[in-house]
Every structure is written in structure tokens, then in C-alpha cells.
Amino acid sequence: MSASRSSCAPESLARREFMQAGGALVIGFSMQGAIATPSAGAPGKPAGFKPNAWLRIDTDGSVEFLISKTEMGQGTESGMAMVLCEELDADWARVSVRTIQPDGKRFMITGGSYSIAGAWVVGRRAAAAARHMLLEAGASALGVPRAECRTGNHAVSHPASGRQLGYGELVAAAAKLSVPKEPALKDPATFKLVGKAMPAKNLDALVRAESRYGMDIQVPGMLYAVIERSPVVNGRIAHVDDAAARQVAGVSRVVRLRGNTFPTYNYVRDGVAVVANSTWAALKGRRALKVSWHESWTDGAPRNGALASSTRLATDFQRLLTDPAVKTENGLHPDVVAVRDGTVEGMNAAFQSAARTLDMFYDVPLQAHVPMEPMNATAHCTDERCEVWVPCHFQTRLFNALRELTGLPPERIIIHTTMLGGSFGRRLDVDYAIEAVMLSRELAKPVQVVWTREDDVRCGLYSPPSRHRVRVALDAGGNPLAMDHAFAALSVWKQQEPTEIEPSGLDYAAAFDAIKFPYRVPQRVVRHRLVEQTIRVFWWRRGYTPNHTFVNECLLDECAHAAGVDPLDYRLRLLPENQPVKFANKGGEVEEIHTGRLARVLRAAADAANWRTPLPKGRGRGIAATVTDTHVAQVVEVEVTDGRIRVTRVVTAVDCGIVINPQLVKAQVEGSVVFGLTAALKGAITVENGRVQQSNFHDYPLLAIDEMPIIETVLLPSTVAPSGTGEQISHPVAAALANAIFAATGQRLRGTPFRLA
């Protein structure tokens, strides 16, 4: 952390955000560096320290937190503000939160469920520094020793004399003091705000429907546009007949947009934009447009969009995992080894001496993000200036892309982050905003580009599909001697950031959650083979964690049943006792699973779900767990009648360290359960001839209210630092459900969405 008084606030910030700084006390801090950067790739990460968050106390006592994090329904603004407000001893009612504008100097991304953890580590220190400065200023103003003074409720008080001064009155003096480097932090036992169920800061605006999302932006003179995009990746415009489109009342222009070539970091499809004075006129104009496309213009399969096919992908996956023509280890393809515990010889010996072996294939399909607010962006770009209003949470990525596109200096690029109508990872890509800027440059006018739901489903990015082959050797007691997990997948990094792949070919983003397996298996190998196709894949509630959690937690259940042991007992038996188990990720970063915490959530979920109480015929329970900093276990209860799967109850036990706001954590649990159930039970995205075959909610359905199970949440008390709950909780749902279906029916389903035989 470094701190700066208002007079030496960073230059661009001083201009843009602090024109009226006056005597305010401002402390800047950096939200990254304190913790691991999210696995969502981050090129252009600035070297060295630049504050990307500030806390500012004004002379009127108002407190503002300027954060680089983006609110999209996950409660990050409120959660972070509670942490800072607590440490500052400020009055919650006088605290507000604002998202900063990116300026190219500071890294700005929201992802990986790291925001709260970051606020805890660095935000608290900044707030504590401010509190110490106010305390010092207060003691001096009251003419009493500092040790006799207290902070609390937005004021410095001197209990002995009963006098006190509000923060606002002390700000000018406090701002002249030097910033303590290692300020003492409050004892969590004394917390008053943290741990309380508080409404989100923006709740009132939301129930009044007054929040402004990207689509709600209206700029004077703004035009509306929709874009007819190439139906396949890398397609090029062959011919445009826009005569009828131009006849549509309200349509003013039809503009060709030249995209770039996949694979690349910021891929944009070729398209034809219909520009009009209303969204409806643009939509109607697009319907009247006739465009034909060159679909196979490029060299070979990796770039030929028309060849993309789910069927071909499945064949490729299968061949890579089973083709006997390829020289193999244990009969499997010799792909890139991500981790090996033990030796090749040891593994071969284990499979030879096994009392029993299992050989399972698991499949995870493509999934779409489909946030309720479709992609959109509003841009006003001239030769001098580029201004964008956009629901986006990787602002640095967009900023860099717009610098490259426009050639404008950094201070002429202005990105306003609007409220986001959900993202789930989709808006970490910024293709939709680049399109709007391309079009606005062409028009030299402000324009809002709206994607229809069909555009979103057909022309988007999808969760990475994978096929897994897991072979397990069990001893006579049913304990695993060896496990060989091979998987084939599409790679986000190969498509967008190939330099992130290790020289060995290892893709840590794809493999890490398979590597991260805390159960005792003496001989273990994880390897992968990456497949290249023109299907764009992307982070989706993280990237590959849903896939590997599904595989790991199903295979444990299968082993338990093979061993004739209860699946909960089997897990507990295989977990090393109460210790941190460390796993190396990319760049030497280490992630930890604490087996004591994991066992505790497993037991807590099982207890709350009456795990040991038998269920009648046709019903069953399944258990699964996952750890991404936060330790999560889930029990799903299912009822199967006439071949119909009905999820009746989902119990989740969460250990996310100190709970900042139980109300928001529970909201994340409830939402994540629904997200996980949609993935497990509903549609999948398929591609043939380069075309996504789904288009809207009729063929890519979401779970609805009438399919809701009872959701119960157990938040376990903890004194360790808080960790995220944004997405982890959606990860075990599919496995717990598959295991429950097996318990209810004896049918083992190894691929989502689940369909009974």
C-alpha cells in the first residue's frame, strides 16, 4: 500500500475524479498484488504499483470509496464498502461507493471472486491508516493524549471529558499528517458492521427500477444499431443487398464492419450494421437486409469457421483419449502431463496389482452465459475523443483495445462503466464494445449497438467443453492405488492468449482444477490434450472449474460405490487429516485446500441434509464439494418419477472465512445453486457447419421458479480471512445431482445436461 494526500493524488485521477478535492483526505491503494490475479488472463498488466482504489473523506464528513471493481449483482460494492467502513469506524449511511474510470495506468478487472479478499487484505489497511490519522488529528485538536481517544461512529471522542469531533471536522488536519505504513488493524471480535446482514447499497434503486444499465444509456443525438454478423467465425462479407433495408422508415445508414481473424485476443466478427433512429427501425431494417458470406476463405481447419462442429469435436475428443494407434501410457494418449504423484512404473504396477479397476468417461458441453441484459454498448467516437458507456468488468482490456483501435492518447479515451445486467464471465470479453466504437467512428455520431438474444446465443463465447477419461485402480479394501485422469478440451488461452501456455504445452487454466485434488491417491497423473476449433470458448463462472469439479466429485462417488462405502465416509477416509494441502499453479502461485475445513463443510452439509436418514424408493441424495479458497460442500436431494428428474432440496455448507455480509453470501449461494442446476439439467450449446444451433430461451432454457428446490445454506463460523463466494458455489451442483440420481435410480449419468436412459 502507498498513500497519497489529495495534493499528490495521481495526476490523471486528480483531474478526472478529484477536481474538487480541496482539503479532503484521500488514500490510494492497490487491489491487485495483494492476492493472486484471477485466472482470467491479464495481458497488459502494469508493472509496479499504481493505486486502483481510493478512500476519500470530505470536509462535510462524507466518505466515498472509489473502487476498480464492478457491481453486477454479486454485491461486491456493498461487501467491500462494509469492510472499509468497519475499519474506518465510519457511519454506513454516510458511505458511498463508486467505480473508477480506467486510465491505462491501473489494472481494472472484476473476476475470479477475488474482490472481497482483496478488500480485506489491502482495503482494510488503507482504512486503518485513515482512522489512525483522524485519531491523531482529533487528539491534537482536543489537546489530549492520543491514547485517551477513541474512534467510533464517524467521530474521534475523548471519553474522559465527553468531548468529540466528527471526521469531517478533522479531515483537513488529518490530511496534513504522514500516512502510517503499518497501521494497527481492529480486532475482528470488536466488529460492529462486518458480519451483519445488510441490504446492498443499491437495493432501493433496484426495487424502483432506477438503476441504469448499459441499454438504458441515452446520449443526445444517439443513433441505434443492430448488426448482422457473419454466421460463422471468420466469415467475410460476399455481397450486401441493402435496398429494402434502406426503405424501412427510420433507417439512416447501412454500414459494413470489417472484423479481424480468429484466433486472436479481441476477436470481432465481420458484420453489416443497420443504423436507425430507434432500436425497432434498426431491427426491422436488419430483417430486410440480404447478406451473403464467404465462409471458407482461410487456410485450413483452425481458421475455417464453417468447419466448426460439435460432432467433430466429440470425435476428436474421443480419438485423443482412446485411439490405440497412438503410443500410449497405460493405454492412454501421451498428452501433456499436468501433475504426477508417484512414478510411471508405480502407476503401471498399481494397475497390474489392482483388485478392481474403473474406467469412466465424463463429458461437459458448451454452455452460454446468457446474462439477462444482452450485450450492448454506446459509443461516441470522433477524431479527438472516444467515449463509451458500457456494461463491462474488464475495463483495462477495453481501454487497451480502444487505444489500439483509435490511436488516441490515453486521456482521450473515456470509459463509463454502467450497471451490468449480469455477466457470469461473458463481459470479460469486450467484442460488443469494440463494435460500437468501430461503428461510431464510421458514423462520427453517438450510437448504441444492441445485440438481440439471438445474436448473444449464436455469436458469443461459450464455456470450454471437455471430455475426460479417468481410470482408477482400487485395492481390495476399495482405496485408490492409482488414478489416471486424461482430458481433451478446447483452450481459452490457446485461442486468446497463447503465450500463457507453458513451454511444455501445459495449460494451467485448463488443468489446474484437475491438479487440485486433495484426496489420498499414491499414484496419480493428470494430463491433457488441447483441441483447436473455431468455436470460441471463454471463462464461465471461472473456466474449467465446473468441468473438473464435476469429474472429481463424480469419480469419488463411483469409487465409493465400487468400494461399498458411503460416499461421505469414503471422502472423509481419503482426506489427509486436518492440514493444508498445497497445489502449484502457473508462475509458482500456490493454492491451498485445507483438509480440516473441507471435512468440516462435508460433515456440516451432510448433517443439515439428514445424510444418514434413508429416503423412500425413487429418491436419493448426492454429495459433492469444491475448494477455490472458499470451502464448499453440497447435498442435493432428488426425486425421480416416470423418468423425470425433480430436484427437491439443495443444502450448501460454506466456509468462506469471516463472513462480511451473511445476507449477500446467502444470495450468492441461492443464485449459484440455480446456475448450477440450469447447467446440469437444461440445454447445451451445439455447433454444426460453424453455426450455433440454439438461438433463444426456447432452445437454451433456464431453470424457472416452478422447478426450484428448497435451498438451505449453512455458513460456518470462521476467524480466517474472507474469501469469495461469487462462483465457487455453482461448481459442485452437477456432481452432487449426478450422485443423487445414481442413489435414486442406479443410473450413472456422466455428462450434462442429464438425461435418464
Binding site: G73, L203, Q218, V248, M372, Q663, V674, L702, M708
Partner: protein, 170 residues
């Protein structure tokens, strides 16, 4: 194909008379958002599948994305902006706030409009009635559990308020 189907008509939005002179095929959604600048009504699917654009037409829930302007002559439309009085909250909004329903909030105007129509016609909706009335309103954040709680609470608040005027429902 591109023939304009221009229509002149009058209709009412949140109690105010509006003159419409434009494409009769234009869905109400886009007229509300682009021309009347009532952006509380959201675009989610464009085909009546998700409920994000739910408004009331003559007091009944309707998907504004599939209601054409040409069908609205003389009709009364209520949007989320007109659900409550000027400063007050509608019982549904009060209940939504008490239950901390919204996450991203994008679908919630539609959810609340569907709930308000339900509560107006059913003073004590049970789970089956809630399922029936709201199964067409999708929420990707997954707030359904709290929506169920909030609808029941809204009915309770409405019963307590009955006799008092709490705002328009149509």
C-alpha cells in the same frame, strides 16, 4: 416487406394520455424505451420467452416485446415507473426490498410487474399460484427463492393496506 404500417392512435401510459403516430408493428417495449424513455421495462429476449419486459395492459400482465403498438388504441398500460405513487413503494416493491430480492436487478422490473398482477387478483397466492404466474419470468442470477418469499409478503402487505390506496395497478 419493408412497407410501413403507420398508425395513429391514443393510449395511456401510467395514467397519462399518449398520442402515437408511427409504425403499428413496433413492439410496445421499444416505444416505451426509445421514445417515451421509460427504461425500467427491459429487453431480454424479444420473443416473449423471458418476461423481463412485463408490463400491465388493462391491468393484466403482458410481454411488451410482443405487444404491437397497433393493438393498443385506447388501452391502459402500466410500467414499473407507474407501479407505485410518486414517492411511495408499491407493496410488491416494499416486499422486494424487505426480502433483498434483486442481485443484478435486470429482470426484476418484469418480476415485480408479474407479481403485482398476481397479488392484485389473488390476495393469498400459494406456491402453485406463484409458480403459475411467474414461471415465465426468468432470472439468471437465480433469485427465485427470495421472489417466492417476497410475493407472499407483498400479498400480506396488500391485505393490510386494503381499503387504502397504494398506487395504480392498471
Amino acid at each position: 416487406m419493408a412497407r410501413s404500417s403507420n398508425r395513429k392512435l391514443q393510449f395511456f401510459v401510467n395514467g397519462t394520455r399518449q398520442d402515437y403516430n408511427g409504425d403499428g408493428d413496433q413492439p410496445l417495449l421499444w416505444h416505451l424505451r426509445d421514445q417515451l424513455r421509460l427504461t425500467g421495462t427491459k429487453f431480454g429476449c424479444g420473443t416473449g420467452l423471458c418476461g423481463a419486459c412485463t408490463v400491465h395492459v388493462e391491468g393484466k400482465p403482458a410481454r411488451a416485446c410482443v405487444v404491437n403498438m397497433g393493438s393498443l388504441a385506447g388501452k391502459r398500460v402500466t410500467t414499473v415507473e407507474g407501479l407505485a405513487g410518486k414517492d411511495a413503494l408499491h407493496p410488491v416493491q416494499q416486499a422486494w426490498r424487505e426480502a433483498n430480492v434483486p442481485q443484478c436487478g435486470y429482470c426484476q422490473a418484469g418480476q415485480m410487474m408479474a407479481a403485482a398482477a398476481l397479488v392484485a387478483g389473488n390476495s393469498a397466492p400459494d406456491d402453485a399460484a406463484i409458480d403459475e404466474a411467474l414461471r415465465g419470468n426468468l432470472c439468471r442470477c437465480g433469485t427465485y427463492a427470495r421472489i417466492r418469499v417476497a410475493v407472499k409478503r407483498a400479498a400480506e402487505l396488500s391485505r393490510a393496506n386494503s381499503g387504502k390506496s397504494t398506487g395504480r395497478t392498471s
